[in-house]
Amino acid sequence: MLLSCRWFSIEYWYLDSNQQRIWSFPVSKIVAIVHSGSTNCKKKIHFVLLISRQGKVRLTKWYSPYSQKERTKVIRELSGVILSRGPKLCNFVEWRGYKVVYKRYASLYFCMCIDQDDNELEVLEIIHHYVEILDRYFGSVCELDLIFNFHKAYYILDELLIAGELQESSKKTVARLIAAQDSLVESAKEQASSISNIIAQATK
């Protein structure tokens, strides 16, 4: 319990202090710390963010506890950093002692925030994996799909990630589960409408 509290306070510290972190730490040191087991509260992905080129938020998912205020601040800061990066640069940005792995698909930026010593390429491919699943579901997905069906993007993300960890690496399985959910919703709807029809009929 204490450890987890400590963890919170660290997060707060990063987010509250106004000064931008000037340090990027020699990674070697961090590795050493991790291996000595003192930071065992590691998380994979801290949050997922979808931002449009205009800086509009299309999806947010927070796996670490951020308050509303912090969330707004993070989004504002990160969209500043990421949207201003030119093409042909690498897909990683160092930010407040974390790393943000991002990838641009058409007008949308998919961003995931991870710890310094996580495997960046692995996360980059999680992003692509997610995009492929969205693509398969919507049939050549575009930003408009994600605007009008943002709830679907949430459903799919929940089938892909839990607690900031990848839960399913098979596109087929995810597609199957989402389809099952959809049919559950559909059948409930039909049921409801048929019942209301019956009632409507009966009360006529």
């Binding site: 319990m1 204490l2 450890l3 987890s4 306070s9 510290w13 340090w23 990027s24 020699p26 990674v27 070697s28 961090i30 590795v31 710390i33 000595s36 087991g37 003192s38 065992n40 590691k42 299309r58 947010t60 506890p65 951020y66 308050s67 509303q68 030119g86 042909k88 640069l89 690498c90 897909n91 990683f92 495997n119 960046e120 390429l121 692995e122 980059l124 491919e125 999680i126 994996h129 919507f138 605007i147 009008f148 943002f150 709830h151 949430y154 459903y155 929940d158 839990i162 607690a163 960890e165 839960q167 690496s169 596109k171 399985t173 959910q181 959809d182 559950l184 919703v185 559909e186 409930a188």
Partner: protein, 1063 residues
């Protein structure tokens, strides 16, 4: 495509999209929020479908950045809806809107639990997903057991079990104390045999979390991980849907290798062999391919394999293979790979023997410093910083300096700090170091923190050879048209101190220097003006013979600032003005600053602290950090007494203390001024300067510090007279409150400290987790101490930190303390001590550690590092012809002394290495002892002590101390007083022989207690034995009696009778 449209929602989204500007959008949103509010209020008319729609709308509004707190309750309440569509929305929106700290979540716990233990698989999935994403402590408490059951249940389908695994992972990570994982070793091993890759992936994540907390328990999972890895690498039995661009689940491969990195080694040879086969295959078999995703996935696996190889510290051949690969990566065009190449090369630096092969890539790395991508530039900078050593420092630092002028602002501070650290660490010669720092300030003044220029000032002050060079350089920079304020500060300081060394050079007459510095004054801020004023004062002082014109100019400036609104400036102006009218006397006061005590570079400390911050911002480190900021500024650990060092350069300003030589009272002040050579303007504070430092740092433990001298005697006196047991002492002084949330030490630290004052080895501190022992050896003024840190537990102590805060008179160097002390192990840390001059201040050991999962408990223990060598020398007595007069000889009547038989007092003296010289004094009630005190300033110094006791009243005595150094005499006298007044031994019954009182002794205040004193008898015997000596001495020294003593810091003396070198 099954898009179940909600028309209302779509319309709303379209409306928002059609808003031409932000104001319109806000209007539309407000209207919608109003609508939602009223609908929620009259809940009766709300169909489940409508409720669902409004909750979705709320989430959308929330994403736009508006506040929807009022609707949290509605979202949470949907969780308990009976039907799937509503429940689903409830779960998803709740987990997106709330975080684990929201109180509303508590309302849902019961529903969530019912869903988890219920039979409905889809409900189970929804509940597990939400708990996995935002589950907090209460969820862990009420759900962990149920989730564990689901994970291992054979009746559950994979889709539930994989969610259960990750849900459990979340609960365990957040609250490892709540989730009971007993017996999970076998279950984890079973889970790793799982065929379903989805469940296996989730279980592997769970394993990583478990192993990272306690790798020892999960040994049995190690071969299973290797097996999983083999299965993937060979692509055996992997369903097509789990291959990603032809690579069998790269994510699972990465995870398995990550888990393996938490085991220290792999002992089983078979297992090791097959793992290395797999790794070899990955290292060799990964080629750059056209398809970006395939390439990324393959390299994700490759980099993880590299990390694992480094961790296992494999054979040399494999290592050099890795370095070769990385060398290739840092030269490719693909930015991601180049970035990771640099990053991993930095990690590689930790591995021994590869530094040289990394150095071969230096040119390529420097190219990356100019990469258009800041992420890559950062990595390159980090790598250059890490690989820098004496051989390439010059190249690298110059490269960094060159880059500094073009670097982007985001990197400049880091860049300049790193350049400064490297320059200091690896400077081939000191003038180069000065050059580098001045260039740094010149090029990136805004980004050079104060620490950097403080450090260069320190260096220059401490190295005389460097002073003319630095002053000349500073002079050159002042010629530049526009210079940064920091440059003004540093050059003003350097020129103030050392410009007289340049006097003969052209353009360096005091007047010219004054003019050029004064030109800058209108451009600087208030923090710089005080420094300039000091510089003027110093210039004035160095102008001999005085130049009236210059003098008038400077006085006019002082006059002008006498009414300045800034207190610091005003004070300086007033004081300098007054001082500078004193003529030649100013020479003493404004003399050059004394050397700074050597200490670890604050820059490096800062870097270390900053590094630690990333992982651990514990209180103790914060404290250390605060301390560093003072440390550099202030040459001594004074502070709180003087004004807070807002203007860091106040330190240097200080006036050198005025040597005072007459009278006892003067002495007191001198002793204190000495320990505080850096306060502001000769303000002599009657309090001991280090009190605050110790008080702040150590709280309860500070009692060993000098303040004890002030407090304890009275306390003891009271307790003794009143007959209160002496054990009260410790308790009385320790503020109990401060202890409450730290580990309780075993035994009285105070007593241990005193015991150690009398012995060369023993236990300094002990608590349930750790024992700190100490052993000391002294040779003249050099001490070699060893700290023994013993872990008393079966689990390792982490984050061990030890910091020695030496008093001004001791130079101490503590060797590196390991971060972790293994279970039941003892670590030895040598500590070198050099005594500079006499003083009673003690050093303080600030020690902290973290035990297991319990909170980091900074248990600081104070420690004496005392020092004293006394080599007894009777023969020295022949040198007694020197006539001792105050301040070399001091005499004082001490009252309130703990009654002690003479023999015991003699033993006490012996244990302080004050050699008793029996028989020197014909009066059997007197003790005479001698010693030699060693320190840098005094060298070997003979000290003599004579104690005259009153047999009628043992609570008082007269003490006479003499030595060749006034300060030593004073400190020794004070020390003896402290010791005699407060020795923590069990009090013996006060006894006194019936001999007549010594004439000088003041009137006894307490009744005579007993009539016999074996100690006195014994002493009398001794004196008769050595009577010849006594008479001889008497003839030399008249009636004055002598005790020779040594003891350097007088802080405490340690006995070493057998090893006593009879010099």
């Amino acid at each position: 495509m099954a898009l179940s449209g909600m028309r209302g929602l779509s319309v709303f989204i379209s409306d928002i999209r059609n808003c031409p500007n932000k104001d319109q959008e806000r209007l539309r949103v407000d209207k919608e929020l109003g609508n939602i509010r009223t609908r929620f209020k009259n809940e009766k008319g709300l169909t489940p479908y409508e409720k669902k729609k409004y909750v979705w709308k709320m989430l959308y509004i929330y994403m736009l950045g508006y506040d929807v707190d009022f609707g949290h309750m509605e979202a949470v309440s949907l969780i308990s809806a009976p039907k799937y569509p509503e429940k689903q929305v409830g779960y998803i929106v709740t987990s997106s809107l709330l975080n684990e700290n929201h109180d509303f979540l508590r309302l849902a716990i019961n529903t969530v639990r019912n869903d988890i233990i219920g039979r409905n698989e889809t409900f189970q999935c929804l509940a597990l997903t939400m708990v996995g994403n935002i589950g907090g402590r209460e969820f862990a408490e009420s759900l962990a057991a149920d989730v564990q059951k689901l994970l291992i249940s054979s009746s559950c389908r994979p889709l539930v079990r994989k969610k259960a695994a990750l849900c459990l992972l979340r609960l365990y990570r957040k609250n490892p104390d709540v989730v009971n994982i007993d017996g999970w070793v076998d279950r984890m091993a079973q889970l790793l045999d799982e065929r379903d890759i989805g469940v296996l992936t989730s279980s592997m994540s769970l394993l990583v979390a478990l192993v990272s907390n306690n790798h020892e328990a999960y040994w049995s999972c190690l071969p299973k991980c290797v097996k999983v890895l083999e299965r993937l690498a060979r692509n055996q039995d992997i369903p097509q849907e789990y291959t990603y661009y032809g690579i069998p689940s790269p994510w699972l491969q990465v995870k398995a290798m990550r888990a393996l990195q938490y085991f220290p080694t792999i002992e089983d040879p078979n297992c090791r062999r097959s793992l290395f086969e797999v790794l070899q295959r990955i290292l060799m078999g990964t080629d750059v391919v056209k398809n970006v995703n395939k390439n990324n996935a393959a390299h994700a696996v490759l980099f993880e394999a590299l990390a694992l190889v480094m961790h296992l510290d494999a054979e040399k051949e494999m290592m050099s293979q890795c370095v070769a690969l990385l060398g290739k990566f840092i030269a490719v065009r693909e930015p991601n790979i180049r970035y990771l190449g640099l990053e991993n090369m930095t990690r590689m630096l930790m591995v021994t023997d590869v530094q040289d092969s990394i150095k071969r890539h230096q040119a390529q790395i420097i190219t990356s410093l100019k990469d258009p991508d800041i992420s890559i530039r950062r990595r390159a900078l980090d790598l250059l910083y890490g690989m820098c050593d004496i051989s390439n420092a010059k190249d690298i630092v110059e490269e960094l300096l060159q880059y500094l002028s073009t670097a982007d602002f985001a990197m400049r501070e880091e860049l300049s700090l790193k350049a400064a650290i490297l320059a200091e660490k690896f400077a081939p010669d000191l003038s180069w170091y000065v050059d580098v720092i001045l260039q740094l300030i010149d090029k990136a003044g805004d980004f050079v923190s104060d620490d950097i220029w403080f450090r260069v000032v320190q260096f220059v002050t401490n190295n005389e050879d460097l002073q003319p060079y630095a002053a000349a350089k500073a002079r050159e920079y002042l010629d530049k048209p526009a210079i940064h304020e920091t440059m003004v500060k540093v050059s003003a300081y350097l020129l103030g101190e050392f410009s007289h060394l340049l006097a003969r050079r052209p353009g360096c007459s005091p007047k010219e220097i004054f003019i050029i510095i004064h030109e800058k004054l209108p451009t600087v801020s208030t923090s710089t003006i005080p420094i300039l004023l000091s510089t003027y004062a110093k210039i004035l002082m160095h102008t001999q013979p005085p130049d009236p014109e210059l003098q008038n100019q400077i006085w006019a400036i002082f006059n002008k600032y006498e009414s300045c609104i800034d207190a610091e400036i005003q004070q300086r102006a007033v004081e300098y003005f007054a001082l500078s009218r004193k003529g030649a006397a100013v020479m003493d006061i404004l003399a050059e600053m004394p050397k700074f005590p050597e200490r670890q570079s604050a820059l490096i400390k800062k870097a270390e602290v900053a590094e630690v911050d990333s992982a651990d911002q514990s209180a103790i480190k914060l404290r250390a950090q605060q301390q560093t900021s003072n440390a550099l500024v202030v040459t001594d650990q004074h502070s709180a007494n003087g004004p807070p060092p807002t203007v860091p350069a106040v330190g240097p300003l200080t006036l050198v203390k005025v040597p005072s030589t007459s009278g006892n009272a003067e002495h007191t002040s001198e002793g204190q001024a000495l320990t505080q050579p850096n306060g502001t303007l000769t303000k002599i504070d009657p309090q001991t300067p280090s009190e605050d430092l110790l008080g702040d740092l150590l709280g309860p433990l500070a009692i060993e510090g000098p303040p004890g001298a002030a407090v304890q005697p009275q306390q003891n006196a009271v307790s003794e007279v009143g007959g209160v047991p002496s054990a009260v002492d410790g308790a009385a002084i320790v503020p109990v409150g401060e202890y409450s949330n730290s580990v309780q030490p075993i035994g009285n630290i105070n007593e241990r400290f005193y015991a150690l004052c009398l012995k060369d080895s023993g236990v300094l501190y002990e608590d349930p987790y750790i024992q700190i022992g100490i052993k000391a050896e002294w040779r003249a003024q050099h001490g070699h101490l060893v700290l023994f840190l013993g872990n008393k537990n079966t689990s390792p102590l982490d984050s061990v930190q030890a910091l020695v805060l030496p008093p001004a008179h001791l130079k101490m160097e503590l060797s590196l303390v390991p971060e972790t002390i293994p279970p039941r192990a003892q670590v030895q840390c040598p500590l070198e001590v050099l005594n500079l001059r006499p003083s009673r201040d003690v050093a303080v050991l600030d020690f902290s550690y973290k035990f297991g999962e319990c909170e980091a408990s900074p248990s600081s223990s104070s420690e004496q590092i005392s020092s004293a060598y006394i080599s007894v020398c009777r023969r020295v007595l022949s040198s007694m012809e020197i006539s001792f007069r105050p301040p070399l000889k001091l005499q004082e009547v001490v009252r309130g002394v703990r009654p002690l038989p003479l023999a015991e007092m003699a033993n006490l003296f012996n244990s302080f290495r004050l050699m008793i010289c029996p028989g020197l004094d014909p009066n059997p009630n007197n003790l005479v002892a001698s010693t030699t005190f060693y320190s840098e300033s005094t060298r070997a110094m003979l000290c003599l002590i004579r104690i005259e006791t009153d047999p009628a009243d043992r609570t008082q005595l007269r003490m006479t101390v003499a030595s060749g150094d006034p300060m030593l005499t004073f400190e020794l006298k004070e020390f003896m007083k402290e010791q005699l007044v407060s020795i923590p031994t069990a009090p013996h019954g006060p006894t006194a022989p019936p001999t007549p009182p010594v004439a000088q002794v003041a009137q006894p205040t307490s009744p005579v207690k007993a009539l016999t004193d074996p100690g006195a008898m014994l002493a009398a015997e001794w004196s008769f034995e050595d009577f010849g000596l006594v008479t001889r001495k008497k003839s030399v020294n008249g009636s004055f009696l002598v005790l020779v003593m040594d003891g350097q810091s007088l802080a405490s003396f340690r006995p070493n009778n057998k090893a006593e070198p009879n010099k």
